[in-house]
């Protein structure tokens, strides 16, 4: 005879305000198998768990029902409580009366209570048919794949590799470094971005545990946590990196000019190029979209001048495979295109630039030698207007969220402008100054006091050209006045957005993304670096806008997670997987077709005991099966059963309502 214990959680007010918990308890008590039923404010807390542990022993319970939040939230917690009391953890059933009842039926307490009662009765009925299950051990491949070679990917790769775990770092551009390599100095300390980043880039290249694969992209990921298989396409660089010395003759001689992406198109690079002088690896690649030889079959000047004979125009893209156990995604961010701000004349006036363009100009290795200039006439600007929140916090034209870093880098730009052009003046239009962070508020004060930057709280309504000047008309909301500033240069702090390719990457990896294209973490507070898919982690702006310190912290957290995952020789896996009853299997192989994980193979077994004739039956690979249940549904002869969701369990649930 089953003896079921029912534990109903208040979840503070989350459940108790909308579901009559006492009524649910009373209803549970009417079920004859229920030998114990009790409520508590927070069942997941230690006293709550202790109540479960004590009741198991005291009332000799054979299965447990916890009516609380979604099993995605605390199923693990309660299973552990069962284990601690000496009970098989899979004798637990969670009735989700929060997400499935109290939260969605807040306006009707009576109906919510009735539904909660139904959910509890179903869970009780199911738990009676629960069987003891045991975790499965699967081997783990101790190699991590890091996608993206910006500061997030670099930090994650270095931290993992320092723990002597091999890392494959894949970067889509010819060099690692990412956005941070484009920056001049960093807030709030004004230390030089290149000086702190380039040593790390060199460390990546020389680390014995890091395999750096630049100019390539991940195109496929199969498998499951601990046992992924990645396909990586190495784009043809048309340069043999083994023999190339990076001398630079090729790009000096190349006659084709292409806007330089690294410098935001302010100057030109060649068709054969390294993105910047400190590039890692410091070997050039040929841009196939612009190379005359590759497009028209004429030129080949670079090959003529290369002393090492490293140029190979016949090189093809190559696909390589790596077996890995975990993935860190760090694909970074892009900038929002400000052209919808037509009232500012974005796209019509050359002297309106975005912050990254300004950053390249004031950068010592930038296209203007560290001095900001007006793109229209090359003159050094004396009055520069910075406008924050371009696209950010703008539901009408842009996106709703705050891009987080613009307040700080704009303060930094005011300081840098003052350093580079002493007799200049910065005007900063802002909505709010968001300077939460160590030393951040002090830095903004410094920008205001030291440089005399004039902060004007208000939006700019219009920019128009008058002679050589750009007239910036806006509001000073604190004085309640309209202001007009005669500017030489206008710098727009455009919003941060995820890369366009993020949704495609997310689908390829089998993880989720939000409406903006940011990759989604498993839990916004408690699992901020994990994705919902085991073994895939997120670092940096691919998850949300963040600054360098935060990005580095998240990357290191990813590394800690990967190291934790790889700490043992095997991984524990839920036993909720399918099994085939060979007696019933007709060998139709429909299950093989529907399995999304390629977890089902076939095998030949004797037709009968001692018979020579063979017949084909399905066989499940325990390590690969994720317990989705597709095969169970398709099986015509009802030969497949999913542990934890067997027919008797499901039928019990249905009968209970």
């Amino acid at each position: 005879m089953a003896r079921v214990g029912v534990f109903v959680c208040f979840c503070g007010a989350n459940i108790a305000d909308f579901v009559d918990v006492k009524a649910v308890i009373e209803e549970a008590k009417t079920i004859k198998e229920v030998k114990y039923a009790i409520d508590y404010k927070y069942m997941c807390s230690d006293p709550g768990q202790q109540m479960i542990r004590d009741a198991i022993v005291q009332y000799r319970l054979t299965s447990i029902v916890v009516a609380a939040c979604s099993p995605r939230m605390h199923e693990k917690t309660f299973r552990k409580a069962l284990s601690d009391a000496g009970m098989n953890p899979y004798l637990l059933e969670v009735a989700n009366i929060r997400e499935h009842s109290s939260w969605v039926h807040q306006k009707d307490k009576k109906a919510a209570t009735e539904k909660a009662g139904d959910l509890v009765r179903m869970a009780v009925a199911k738990s009676i048919a629960n069987e003891q299950l045991h975790e499965i051990s699967v081997p783990v491949t101790k190699r991590a794949l890091v996608i993206g070679g910006g500061i997030a990917g670099i930090q994650a790769a270095l931290d993992i590799a320092d723990a002597r775990i091999p890392v494959t770092l894949v970067e889509r551009s010819p060099s690692i470094g990412g956005r941070m390599a484009q920056l001049d100095e960093t807030f709030p300390t004004l230390d030089c971005s290149q000086c702190i980043l380039t040593p790390k880039m060199v460390d990546v290249a020389s680390h014995p545990y890091i395999e750096l694969i630049p100019y390539s992209e991940v195109i496929e990921l199969d498998g499951y946590v601990g046992n992924y298989k990645a396909k990586i396409r190495k784009k043809a660089s048309y340069v043999n990196f083994k023999t190339c010395t990076g001398c630079g003759t090729c790009w000096q001689k190349c006659p084709v000019k292409v806007p330089n992406e690294f410098n935001c198109g302010i100057d030109n690079r060649k068709a054969i190029y390294t993105p910047f002088p400190q590039a890692v690896p410091n070997k050039p690649v040929i841009d196939a979209e612009h190379c005359t030889m590759l497009l028209k079959g004429k030129c080949g000047i670079c090959a003529k001048f290369c002393e090492k004979g490293s140029i190979d125009f016949k090189m093809q893209d190559e696909v390589i495979e790596r077996e890995i156990g975990a993935v860190v995604v760090a694909t970074g961010y892009d900038l929002w295109d400000a052209r919808p701000y037509e009232e500012y004349g974005v796209g019509r006036y050359k002297d309106i630039i975005n912050s990254l363009e300004f950053e390249r100009m004031v950068s010592a290795n930038g296209p203007t030698g560290g001095v900001p200039v007006r793109p229209s006439d090359g003159k050094v600007p004396k009055t520069v207007v910075f406008i924050k929140c371009i696209g950010s916090r703008d539901e009408a034209k842009g996106i709703e969220y705050c891009s987080k870093i613009c307040c700080m880098y704009t303060a930094k730009h005011a300081v840098l402008l003052h350093h580079k052009v002493h007799d200049s003046r910065a005007y900063i239009f802002y909505m709010d100054i968001r300077a939460a962070g160590k030393g951040y508020e002090e830095f903004v004060k410094r920008a205001q006091v030291e440089t005399g930057a004039i902060y004007l709280r208000g939006r700019v309504s219009k920019i128009y050209q008058k002679g050589e000047k750009l007239m910036v008309r806006g509001e000073d909301a604190q004085l309640g006045q309209e202001v007009e500033v005669e500017a030489d240069l206008v710098v727009l702090a455009t919003a941060i957005i995820p890369y366009k390719s993020n949704p495609a990457l997310a689908r390829l990896l089998g993880i989720s993304y939000d409406k903006y294209g940011y990759l989604s973490e498993a839990h916004p507070k408690l699992r901020p670096v994990e994705t919902a898919k085991a073994g895939i982690f997120l670092a940096g702006c691919t998850q949300a806008p963040k600054d360098i310190p935060e990005t580095v912290a998240q990357a290191s957290a990813c590394a800690a997670k990967v190291c934790g995952l790889f700490a043992g020789d095997t991984l524990k896996k839920d036993p909720m997987i399918s099994t085939v009853n060979r007696e019933f299997c007709s060998g139709c192989q429909n299950c093989v077709k529907v399995c999304p994980y390629q977890a089902i193979v076939t095998e030949d077994i004797p037709l009968g005991h001692g018979a020579k004739e063979m017949r084909t039956v399905a066989k499940i690979n325990e390590g690969v099966c994720q317990g989705c249940g597709s095969c169970v549904a398709i099986c015509r002869s009802m030969a497949i059963s999913l542990a934890g969701f067997t027919d008797p369990q499901i039928i019990n649930e249905i009968v209970a309502i």
Binding site: K257, I266, D267, N268, R269, K270, E342, E343, G345, R348, P367, T368, V373, R374, P375, S376, D377, G378, K462, Y464, Q465, K466
Partner: protein, 313 residues
């Protein structure tokens, strides 16, 4: 031949008669038959919608209902303000049938509103329904040589969600039309700034200030004249120009044309049909530029571009 319903509005029969007359000439040339709504009434303009919401809807709604009886699929309106009231009413009625029913019940005996007729400004109709190619095809005496600042005002393209036409901040449709007539549209930043509108009567100084700014920027853009498609814009920029010049002690001498006046000229109508005598600022100085050959100087390479190139060498 196309047919379109015509709502002239009160200005067309008064201060902007030249707009009305030239619209009719232009449409005839473009093979569009205009059918004026019989017994149309005031659109309510600014007064109604600042005083009483129901009245602000009811007045245009009656016109919309009357327009439906003519069985043309589009109604075109020269006045920007009438257009705005009609368009807003249509948009709100179409998205809220309950509101439409309520307002409809107040205009007893006129029939029920079905939302069948599209509302377009004269500018939008010329640009979308007639099209640049058809306009270009009818040009017999191009007005080349003229540099024109196209001024749209605040209502022709705004709010974007309701007008669904051109850009709310930097529209180009009128610019494209005057270029189709052979003229040159200048890069004019104040094309959607406020002219002061009906403050012309209650607080004239506001108009002198705002319209003065528009004239200044039009002059700065190198224009010989301003082109408008709104009676109130025309009256503020033209009629108030001498006062503005007096107040700021500056001479603009910028004639203010209706778009259709220039279209009619380019279509070959004689000058005396345009009613230029109604203009306060004489138009002859601007018209004198017709036929002038203007050569654009090639933009010199900027220093930075030169520097970047030499660096890349």
């Amino acid at each position: 031949m196309k047919k379109v319903t015509y709502f002239p509005g009160c200005s067309a029969h008064g201060t902007s008669e030249e707009f009305d007359q030239t619209v009719k000439m232009v449409m005839k040339t473009l093979d569009v038959e205009m059918e004026e709504i019989p017994d149309w009434n005031c659109c309510g303009a600014t007064s109604a919608h600042t005083m009483n919401e129901s009245l602000a809807y009811a007045l245009p709604l009656r016109n919309l209902v009357l327009a439906e009886r003519l069985h043309n699929d589009t109604m075109t309106i020269p006045c920007a303000s009438c257009y705005q009231r009609m368009k807003v009413t249509k948009a709100h009625m179409d998205e809220d049938p309950a509101l439409a029913g309520r307002i409809n019940s107040t205009i007893v005996g006129e029939g029920s509103y079905e939302g069948k007729v599209a509302v377009k400004s004269m500018l939008q109709y010329c640009y979308e329904d007639v099209g640049l190619d058809a306009i270009k095809a009818k040009v017999t005496s191009p007005i080349s040589g003229m540099k024109l600042a196209c001024y749209y005002g605040c209502l022709l393209t705004r709010p974007k969600a309701i007008t669904q036409f051109d850009s709310p901040e930097y529209p180009m449709s009128m610019d494209h039309i005057v270029e189709a007539l052979g003229a040159k549209a200048t890069a004019f930043d104040f094309k959607t700034e406020c002219c002061g509108a009906s403050f012309s009567i209650s607080d004239t100084d506001v108009v002198l200030q705002l319209s003065g700014k528009i004239l200044e920027m039009a002059k700065e853009s190198g224009a010989h004249a301003i082109v408008v498609a709104c009676p109130l814009c025309q009256s503020n920029l033209d009629m108030r120009q001498p006062d503005i010049e007096k107040k700021y002690k500056i001479k603009y001498n910028l004639p203010v044309f209706y778009l259709t006046q220039l279209m009619a000229m380019a279509f070959g109508y004689p000058k005396d049909k345009m009613m230029f005598a109604k203009h306060i600022i004489p138009v002859d100085s601007a018209l004198a530029h017709i036929g002038e050959v203007t050569e654009e100087p090639k933009p010199a390479k900027s220093k930075k571009a030169v520097k970047a190139e030499s660096e890349a060498e």
